[in-house]
Symmetry: C2
């Protein structure tokens, strides 16, 4: 693992759930519980909270005494603004010695009482949806080390989950690998990263270059994809991330039942063939040996029988490894990485 930069979010976490009424709005909290369970030593729930992570309830002071170093806001209030009645809880956390981390649109640092308390108690505020540093313009210069990027036929169909699974499987096999987070939940899981969609457009590729710096020849960076080249609002972000990531290996994430780009009913999901060709054509600008190693299907809305048939048929049709990270795991992908990049994939 690479050392964290100074701005990394310090674990373990107290996960703040506020008074959230539905698990739908607690995706970040569940992502943390599932992916860094050892780092979630407690939850803080206010009266009315209808969600339970299954970890001990703690006040900020109790959590600090138990070793917690950061309170992470694990829920997304509708609209992304910070509810006023949460502020006393956040101030208490700062006073108890905890840093704060938030993926809300509204920055903690823009709330004067919170900013002032953080200064007074010497604590750090992490607004992970906002870049806290400046980046260079992308250089296009090839870096040492290996990189895998997940891309998708749409948003919100498993790019983060797939990247986390692959990074974990590489690490489980003793291969030197890092998950590189590009969105708020991924950053809270990893403890650092770059919210790539919050970077000023000119510097998107440069930010992606910064995110996966030069590394040992056999080291793998497994980079969380964002957006989709087929999304009318976000394709530019996706392209900057591809160019800056210079992926050697690409994994295409797809939901076989989805027909339209989410929230954009007039935009059809592309065929897998079209997606593979378009991504590869553009990725080869900054890495001429970029190639697809697998397709990762999200078959969560299909029966087990249908899913198995879809996975088999898709792999056969495209001549690619095909998995569902949840149903089948990603061993087949990592087998391929180990086999085909073997001489350059380092065991720790």
């Amino acid at each position: 693992m690479t050392a964290h930069p100074a701005s990394a979010i310090v674990k373990p976490y107290l996960v703040f759930l506020g008074d959230v009424g539905d698990e739908l709005y607690a995706k970040t909290a569940f992502g943390l519980r599932d992916w860094v369970p050892g780092a979630c030593i407690g939850q803080r729930r206010l009266p009315g909270c209808a969600v339970d992570l299954g970890v001990p309830d703690m006040t900020p002071a109790q959590a600090h005494a138990a070793g917690a170093r950061t309170l992470v806001i694990g829920v997304a209030p509708v609209g992304g603004a910070l509810p006023g009645h949460w502020i006393p809880e956040l101030l208490a956390a700062l006073q108890a010695g905890l840093d704060l981390a938030s993926g809300l649109h509204q920055k903690l640092a823009d709330e004067p009482t919170i900013a002032e308390a953080a200064r007074r108690f010497g604590r750090t505020l992490h607004d992970v949806r906002h870049a806290n540093r400046s980046f260079p313009v992308g250089s296009g210069t090839k870096r040492s080390g290996k990189r895998l990027l997940t891309v998708g036929t749409d948003c919100a169909l498993g790019k983060k989950y797939t990247a986390l699974c692959i990074a974990r499987e590489l690490q489980a096999r003793g291969i030197d690998a890092d998950f590189r987070a590009t969105g708020q939940t991924g950053i809270l899981i990893a403890g650092d990263g770059v919210a790539i969609d919050a970077v000023v457009a000119d510097f998107t590729a440069g930010a992606a270059e910064t995110l996966s710096p030069a590394n040992a020849a056999g080291h793998w960076d497994v980079i969380e994809g964002q957006g989709s080249l087929f999304h009318p609002g976000y394709a530019g972000v996706t392209l900057g991330l591809i160019h800056g990531s210079q992926p050697d290996a690409l994994v295409l994430c797809h939901d076989p039942l989805r027909r339209e780009i989410g929230g954009y009913p007039q935009f059809a999901i592309p065929s897998l063939e079209e997606a593979l060709e378009t991504y590869l054509r553009l990725a080869r600008l900054t890495n001429s040996s970029a190639r697809f190693v697998a397709v990762a299907l999200n078959t969560s809305k299909m029966s087990a029988i249908d899913a198995a048939a879809e996975i088999t048929a898709t792999g056969k049709r495209l001549g690619l490894v095909c998995v569902d990270p949840i149903r089948t795991g990603v061993r087949a992908i990592v087998d391929l990485l180990q086999g085909e990049y073997e001489d350059q994939t380092a065991t720790r």
Copy 2:
């Protein structure tokens, strides 16, 4: 012409040249003189200035008395920072009743004495390299009106110039058309626009949608392109601009003598065939009837004979109208727009 929004830069201009030593650093000033000559009623030069626009020298007070409403910084100091000895001149301009407009990296609004004087005298500061409003995520929804976008095989080879020429030719023929600026010099020429590369990445396509809003069916927006899909640092900006602009017509700008992306010697300029195909494939996501209407060559470094031969051969090879906006003008492009989009192109 469309009414300017409240944030438009008010003409006429006093063009500030400071003590610039070389015309190379006064590109914005010459762009203004060439494209909005009637709006440049004077120049302000400090001791040591080696550049002359050929318009009367004026103090800010004289310029205001002659009708000027904005002092525009027409030069780019190396590094983009505001030289300290310019500040008294800028304060004098505010006191004389002029707004200030700047394309420097360093914002005028971040210089406390300037910000304070602007407040005191009720003047507006235009930092055109920085977005002064927020934008939505791109919707992909088709807007009425016609749009032409210039794109390129690289940066800095004539995309702005070509768009300005086409807009002027359309207007000269009485066709309702607007030049839509996406970079600092273009914004100062047009009086408004969006510095597209300064927008947060998530909102690039949305900013481009905002820049060319729904319009009369026969109205043409002629949009200044930015970057290149073949540029390892800026391609994401280019793609967001394409998707948000939803161009009906594309013009590919190219320098026949350039072999490498400027400043990126390891990146070859693509063939025109590859560029046409890649741009079109991506543009069709948000406008399925997008097509190339012309290639605009920048033959400024070629002899007249070589240039003419290149223009003829390129047009023949690609089966497209081919021009050099400076040598041949853009009449052939506008003839085609009038001919092929005739029923939908309105005369004012």
